[in-house]
């Protein structure tokens, strides 16, 4: 298999000023709209279903299928919210679309809205993306001025408003129902499901939530057709993905690749291999919430949804983190739990209190004060917290933590047996 970058979504990323509408149009932006409006909305949904496009926000839910869950003729408006919260650690792909080719995403919004009969769309962008939100807003203003948004779209009898809503520093607002609460002006606390947003979402109306990259994949599917999209990737994981490779590699960065490539070969050939000539200790395949792979497991893993599931981990957001031999896995676990604990919205006790408890135990182990029973307790907490909460943020913490406990248990034990705490050593030295 050839391990090589492809340029579908990133086709315009290297073109200077492609974020400006004149340049973007010269390179094909908005050229699919005539075709779009000549089709029936159901045909558009069918085409997207056939393309095999799966949601790129992390869960990989088929995009066209989600759209078809919208109830018909409720008399209520239908909303589209584009998820640009991009806060899962190790995920940094959507921002390239926002900054390098925002018109591709706006065109995608038009395609999606036409397909689902939506006339009002909100883009939820994380508050830290300061220059990114400016570029995005300029692009939207340009699209309005050029007649692609507003009372008509490209001269067609179709009204579409697009509004950017800025978050303000809360990872949990990436969770789709917390995101809706946030647009409604509330704390970002996820809602119980059902009802699912497709039935009762923003302002109580049917709502579709899609990731930036999912939406930005639509113009290619419209232009070239479902089969052209499916030609990339594997049977169940169609198309290409913007992979973010970070951590201990020589060439970290964002790379567009077809799905299905061998993980280790991608790390070696695309990202330059483990840095400083060091040995590989583990790979996090799809953002911090996905279970870690040992080097021997990584050998057989390919970058697609099926293979990651077979390896008892997840494709997630395609944020690959490479860990070299020097990484202290207990410290890593502490860093991870601290993140999820900090970002818990606080409404479920197992998540709010449980993650705090896990953090304390890990810190106790790190300080050399831990016992073997603490390792078992951590493991037990993972089992007891998971799936007992309103949303899966808690599982996003416990699933990876369990993988480190199981695969690197000896490192936790070493902290207890060899007692690396200098403070304690001193105590023992002076009887």
């Amino acid at each position: 298999m050839e391990v090589k970058e492809v340029k579908i979504l990133s086709a315009k990323f290297d073109i200077k000023n492609a974020h400006k509408i004149e340049t973007a149009k010269k390179h094909g932006a908005y050229s699919t709209l005539d075709k779009l409006f000549s089709m029936k909305p159901e045909e558009v949904i069918e085409e997207v279903k056939n393309s095999g496009l799966r949601g790129r926000g992390g869960a990989g839910f088929p995009a066209g299928l989600k759209w078809s869950f919208l109830p018909k003729d409720t008399g209520k408006p239908i909303y589209l919210t584009v998820n640009s919260d991009e806060s899962e650690p190790a995920t940094f792909k959507d921002r390239y679309i926002l900054v390098k080719d925002p018109h591709m995403m706006i065109e995608g919004i038009i395609i999606c809205c036409y397909a689902i009969d939506c006339h009002e769309s909100f883009i939820y962008i994380r508050g830290e993306y300061t220059s990114q939100v400016e570029i995005l807003q300029e692009a939207i203003d340009e699209a309005y001025n050029a007649g692609y948004l507003g009372k008509t779209v490209d001269g067609h009898d179709f009204k579409l408003e697009v509004t950017v809503h800025r978050g303000a520093g809360a990872y949990i607002c990436g969770e789709e129902t917390a995101l809706l609460e946030s647009i409604e002006g509330k704390k970002g606390q996820p809602r119980s499901k059902p009802p699912f947003p497709a039935v009762e979402g923003l302002y109580g109306c049917p709502t579709i939530i899609n990731n930036v990259q999912s939406i930005a994949s639509l113009p290619f599917i419209m232009e070239k057709g479902a089969d052209a999209y499916k030609a990339y990737g594997t049977e169940k994981s169609a198309g290409t993905h913007l992979f973010g490779i970070s951590g201990h590699v020589e060439k970290p960065g964002m790379y567009e690749l077809p799905l299905g490539l061998p993980l280790l070969q991608v790390i070696d050939t695309v990202a330059g291999g483990v840095w400083k000539g060091r040995a590989l200790k583990g790979v996090i395949p799809g953002g911090s919430s996905t279970p870690v792979l040992l080097p021997e497991e990584a050998k057989t893993a390919t970058l697609d949804y099926e293979s990651m599931a077979e390896h008892k981990t997840m494709f997630g957001s395609g944020g690959i983190v490479v860990l070299d031999e020097t990484v202290d896995m207990v410290e890593l676990v502490q860093n991870l739990i601290a993140f999820y604990h900090h970002e818990s919205c606080g409404q479920c006790t197992p998540c709010r209190e449980g993650l705090g408890w896990m953090l304390k135990i890990t810190e106790k182990i790190l300080s050399g004060e831990g016992s073997m029973a603490d390792i078992d307790l951590l493991r037990e907490l993972c089992d007891n917290i998971e799936m007992k909460t309103v949303c899966v943020l808690s599982a996003a913490c416990t699933m990876p933590v369990r993988s480190y406990l199981d695969k690197f248990r000896h490192e936790f034990e070493a902290y207890i047996q060899t007692d690396p705490s200098p403070h304690k050593k001193q105590e023992q030295a002076s009887p």
Binding site: H165, A168, M254, V321
Partner: protein, 168 residues
């Protein structure tokens, strides 16, 4: 972390300036309910004043036509809203996974020494404030530092030294 429940009173009434007033009215038309203006209004306040005071919360509630408690709830939940004045240069260092793997601790330690404050503090002279924040979405160019909203990627102590001299 600083206490995110206490509001500070300036003792002076708050109002949007002309520019923000117009922006408020423009944005309010985009949403079907007024409460959706809570987050955008808090941003406008912070743009104008640098932080969110007790008076500004009362003003937003009044302007929107909602309870001050609702605005308070949002202001205290979302960590990017500052509930007290920050330094002229607000330095955020990412503490999360990829930045940690690529040396964020050296950067925090250097800043502690050089700037003389620990994360969560504002320096007495008001020049700097320091904060450790969670993943900033720039993990491929880790470690990253964000100063007054501007990203500085692939940071190391040497680059930071130079950068600090430019902050006047």
């Amino acid at each position: 972390m600083s206490d995110r429940s206490q509001l500070i009173s300036t003792g002076k009434p708050f109002a949007f300036d002309q520019q923000r007033d117009k922006e408020f009215e423009r944005l309010a038309k985009r949403y079907p309910i007024r409460e959706s203006m809570i987050l955008p209004s808090l941003w406008l306040v912070q743009e104008q004043e640098g932080w969110v005071s007790q008076e500004s919360i009362a003003y937003i509630a009044d302007r929107i036509g909602t309870f001050a408690s609702k605005v308070y709830e949002a202001a205290t939940f979302y960590t990017m809203y500052h509930l007290h004045p920050m330094g002229k240069f607000h330095i955020c260092v990412c503490r999360t996974l990829s930045c940690w793997l690529r040396g964020k601790q050296e950067i925090v330690d250097y800043l502690k020494d050089e700037v003389g404050i620990v994360p969560g503090q504002v320096r007495d002279d008001g020049k700097y404030s320091l904060e450790e924040v969670e993943c900033l979405g720039h993990c491929g160019t880790a470690p990253v530092v964000q100063i007054n909203g501007k990203f500085h990627e692939n940071m190391d102590v040497e680059k930071l030294k130079v950068l600090l001299t430019t902050l006047q």
